[in-house]
Amino acid sequence: MKMLLQLFLAFAKIGGFTFGGGLAMLPMMQREIVEKRGWATQDELFDYYAIGQCTPGIIAVNTATFIGCKKKGLPGGIAATFGVVAPSVVIITVIAACIQSFQDVPAVQWAFDGIRPAVVALVFNAVLQIGKKSLTDLFAVLIFLAVAVLAFFTNVSPAVFVLCAGVLGILLKGGKRRAPSA
């Protein structure tokens, strides 16, 4: 029980003090989980992160589940996950409550008029970073372009693109492997 509480608190601290999630959480995880508590080695943490990045769900949550699982099985995974999301739920609920009642204040609307272009820049920058990491060759670029064009002009669910691209990845890479021997 004490371990579960420790898992919850450690991850609540990580969730409450990092902005942006995902990769922004890595340094904090390193300090809290590897250096301070020794719950995982550096290599293990990177492995969890790599898997967290390519399995469905939110990277920070996936990593928390992994470490919780390793320490205390299913209850540990749940305690760590609840810990990492708890600060978000509290903070965002408070903000959402305030924003709803402040929505009619002109200054709030003006602020969002400026925030929206800033968000465009942030998202665009994220696209560049993700592109650099995931578009490793011509086929990947083609999949990227095909999905982008189809998603822009059609109303097909994103899930369909994700699933098709997964199958396509297996076919392309598998075909490439066999090609030289054939």
């Binding site: 699982c69 465009v120 696209v127 990947a140 990227f144 982008a148 998603a151 994103p158 691209a165």
Partner: protein, 193 residues
């Protein structure tokens, strides 16, 4: 269907199919907004700003926000539970077969295609956020002129923030959100004078 159950199921779906975290949930939220009318594209864009400038994983912040605006506090808790449930189930299974999963070539190949698709989906989300922030759709509808409809002030602000982002890589996103907010208020005050 009861609202809370629908919230849980819709976010379960988002958590199950969005790979890569945070912004990867954006295309799914767009789809959700269109289907349910729970929030408009403009609200979704504000939601990204709020999520980026508050602590915690972005995907969770977005789920909390949508859940709260849709069904209050129970809504925010249910939405978050829905979003993390697939991850808990999947990671639980994966952690048991960790080594097999890591060295399986088919899994590796699938993720090769999947990451590219994920990047494509996020790029389209970026376009829709940009359209909303930098383009006056009503002016375009009225005049038919592309250049008259561009919001040059917003475009310039986005460009400046982008340059800052590339130059000061260590600076926290919240700083840029704050700069945007200050610029927005300043612009309106100056315009009023």
């Amino acid at each position: 269907m009861p609202l809370l159950l629908e919230l849980f199921l819709r976010f379960f779906y988002v958590g199950l199919f969005s790979v890569g975290g945070g912004l990867a949930t954006l295309p799914f939220l767009r789809e959700m907004g269109e289907k349910t009318q729970w929030f408009t594209p403009a609200q979704l864009s504000d939601l990204v700003a709020v999520s980026e400038s508050t602590p915690g994983p972005m995907g969770i912040n977005m789920a909390t926000y949508v859940g709260y605006t849709t069904a209050g506090l129970p809504g925010s808790i249910i939405a978050v539970l829905g979003e993390v449930a697939p991850a808990i189930i999947i990671i639980m299974i994966v952690s048991r077969v960790l080594l097999k999963f890591r060295s399986n070539k088919y899994v590796d190949w699938a993720f090769y295609g999947l990451r590219a698709a994920s990047a494509g989906l996020i790029a389209v989300s970026c376009l829709s956020v940009a359209q909303l922030a930098l383009f006056k759709t009503d002016v375009f509808a009225a005049t038919g002129s592309f250049f008259a409809a561009v919001n040059y002030w917003a475009l310039a602000l986005a460009a400046v923030v982008f340059v800052f982002l590339r130059v000061f890589k260590k600076v926290h996103p919240i700083v840029f959100i704050a700069i945007g907010a200050a610029a927005g208020i300043a612009f309106h005050l100056i315009a009023q004078v």
